[in-house]
Subunit: 350 residues, 2 copies
Amino acid sequence: MKLLHRTQQLSIALLTGLSLATASSAIAFEALPETPPVPEDNPLTPEKIELGKQLFFDPRLSVDGTVSCNSCHNVMASGTDNRPVSVGVGGQKGGRSAPTVWNAAFLTAQFWDGRAATLEDQAKGPILNPIEMGLPHQDVAIERIAAIPGYVEQFATVFGGDNPVTYDNIAKAIATYERTLITPNSPFDRHVKGDEHALSTAAKNGMKLVEELGCTACHNGANFAGPTNLPTGEGFFQKFPTHTGTKYEKQYHLAEDLGRYEVTKKDEDKNMWRVPTWRNVALTAPYFHNGAVGTLDEAVRVMAKTQLNKDLDDTQVNDIVAFLNSLTGEFPEQTLPRLPAMANETVTAE
Amino acid sequence: MKLLHRTQQLSIALLTGLSLATASSAIAFEALPETPPVPEDNPLTPEKIELGKQLFFDPRLSVDGTVSCNSCHNVMASGTDNRPVSVGVGGQKGGRSAPTVWNAAFLTAQFWDGRAATLEDQAKGPILNPIEMGLPHQDVAIERIAAIPGYVEQFATVFGGDNPVTYDNIAKAIATYERTLITPNSPFDRHVKGDEHALSTAAKNGMKLVEELGCTACHNGANFAGPTNLPTGEGFFQKFPTHTGTKYEKQYHLAEDLGRYEVTKKDEDKNMWRVPTWRNVALTAPYFHNGAVGTLDEAVRVMAKTQLNKDLDDTQVNDIVAFLNSLTGEFPEQTLPRLPAMANETVTAE
């Protein structure tokens, strides 16, 4: 249905005599939905959300009990760790900067390179990654969870069946919690919904600029990460840097990581990246897949040059930064999870 | 006043003809207070608790943004990290097992060796410890907090004055939050308050045993960590191991760390340790200052042998473990803190 949206808008524009630019503007700028898309095979229930939250915060899913999902995707903050690259077990550094978990529900593919189709698939990765959470095998995750009575009870309630504690179900619970991590009602959203006082003049100028310059060719849709209605697993990718050989590319090592090519080994995927969200981007410094750029204003300059071959003046940069700041949403209040206890011993004693 | 308590009990016992054992029992077994002692120079306010909670969970107080107070003192769980020794920045391992933060408000000295008099003093240590949170100087902590508008505002509200963001005030806020971490209403507490059905038969047997064997000579008071009414900074210490040369001492390397001696360099402090709490001890495996013992039943055997020179049979061990499990209290529901944001950049970008 949503794929017809642009055509519908165009039809309305033609019928009503609105300019195409206005219609196009209406397409690019959408408020964030307050509810996520939910896959048919993993319905969202309060019990599953609560279980998933416990698992998301539980460092016992890492080999030495020091790293949880939340360590790198801190939901008390930006949904990232605000580091260039993350640190996993044993002080090991990852290869890429942690993307935010906030509003990841609206992405049609996960990870910087889109290698996971769903949040469920994504959740299975870091637990077994030797430099992230480092469990040697999914059976170890299952054994650990199955040794904790409070988890066993919840898995039985949530998933039922003879054998509810499975790796698939661990991932389903975590993904379910993550789907609830949505930040609606940003100043931008209030503006789109008709509040004329929601945005500053600078932000309004920035909003025009990101269209006129061409940023929204990629950063569009409700999540500003490309269409949110692609088939599951079909990510929205763009080459970065598109214009090669800039001073920024060299200074920030932007082309060294080949991105999606590392997954597909196809030449056309060299330096291709899933377009990241602009939602809450003001909070997720440092920037880009390698976290090499420390500030949002510099990130804006880099993107204008590497993607659009444009040099922005300070006013343009300030206005765009003001607009991007208007995409900081409201973070829902949550209770602190209690991690189910294991009495008299622990799975991380060695 | 409380120092007179034992004498008063004895007087009452003599006057009423109660046996000394009963009176002594009444002294040893106290319910946990639901409110903490609060120092005069750091009153407890809701705003300070909230600020302290944010700081407690904020990894920006570590040099690389990976470690918060909660990393090692996980309040979503046992208030420890359930590891033999903790892991700080850069994957570095600490020298001792993290003690629980739950009910630390009732201790009269902090750290395993009692080297901090108050929770405020304690909070200042790990932030600057090179193998824990690793900030090079307290000025760096102050600079970081002062760069985050949401913190600056709260420090002004909570502490007032011209210069509210100080290292002392950071510690005061964290300590204030920690004072709220109390776990009342354990089965044991309900028993003490008159609920005859709160304890299992095994737990009741264990309760008698810990008195008869002599465990409560040290593990007494409301927190089972010695008197809670000593002057601030005066810890309640005991030698561990008291009976030297046991198989356990060798197997678990119990005497290698000289404990309080490392602080005072006095011979009489060799292998002296602050008596740790029994509250929630079922949840804090692995056990002892070096976390060398993985299970509570083994910890009970070790303590009986090294401190009392007694070999317990399995029933005795089981009963004592049942009693110790009855000391697992109720953990208060808390909201997940939101860490104040820094827009467009971050203090941990490098």
